[in-house]
């Protein structure tokens, strides 16, 4: 796996390979990858989230990229389906996103 990507793994074992830069939008993930010590997360570039379901984790990854696009001046709305709002907010709170 490339140095500048990370793999996020959902409760059901689905894998999302995203740019490290995108993952760093989350303060929690940033802390995992920048704290000193030889954590397996840092070494392998993989983080498992047993409490985050696949659709929510995918939405969060989409948000990371939307965030980067928005920061670079692109104006668009981020669409959230009403039925996932609560679960998404809990995950976002956990990830400090």
């Amino acid at each position: 796996m490339e140095e500048d990507t990370v793999k996020l793994i959902s409760a059901e074992g689905f894998e999302f390979v995203i740019d490290k830069k995108a993952a760093m939008v989350s303060q929690t993930i940033r802390n995992m990858f920048t704290s000193p010590g030889n954590f397996s997360e840092t070494r392998l570039g993989e983080v498992t989230f047993p409490e985050i379901s696949t659709p929510i984790l995918e939405k969060i990854c989409q948000y990371f990229y939307w965030h980067l696009q928005f920061a670079s001046g692109k104006e668009s709305e981020f669409h959230i389906e009403p039925e996932i709002t609560l679960e998404l907010m809990m995950a976002a709170n956990y990830l400090h996103t």
Binding site: M1, E2, T5, S10, A11, E12, G13, F14, E15, F16, V17, I18, D19, A22, S53, T54, P55, E58, C61, Q62, Y65, L68, Q69, S72
Partner: protein, 97 residues
């Protein structure tokens, strides 16, 4: 970053950043370093239209837009044919029910 696409195969999703003017071959070269399979063993299909993407054309020409889902299939070893599109759905792996 102009846009990204979601490349899916089995339980894995690769978020690939790209430009509308990138050729499909360029995308396959980016994938090459992530999945360890050369570009000529990859086939990309736009999921919304079921259209196989051509190497020499750009993403814009083939109506691949930001956040599009693209299926990745690989050449099988035995007869050189491409495998069928297979994208796993989280419902099939639900850990709580």
């Amino acid at each position: 970053m102009a846009m990204y696409i979601r490349v899916k195969r089995h339980k894995t999703t690769y978020f690939v950043t790209c430009d509308p003017t990138d050729t499909v071959l360029r995308i396959k070269q980016k994938l090459q370093s992530l999945i360890d399979e050369p570009a000529n063993r990859q086939r990309l299909t736009l999921v919304s239209t079921d259209q196989i993407l051509e190497n020499s054309k750009t993403l814009a020409e083939q109506k691949v837009e930001n956040d599009a889902i693209v299926a990745l299939t690989l050449k099988t070893d035995d007869n050189g044919e491409f495998e069928d599109v297979c994208i796993a759905r989280p419902e099939d792996f639900s850990s709580f029910s």
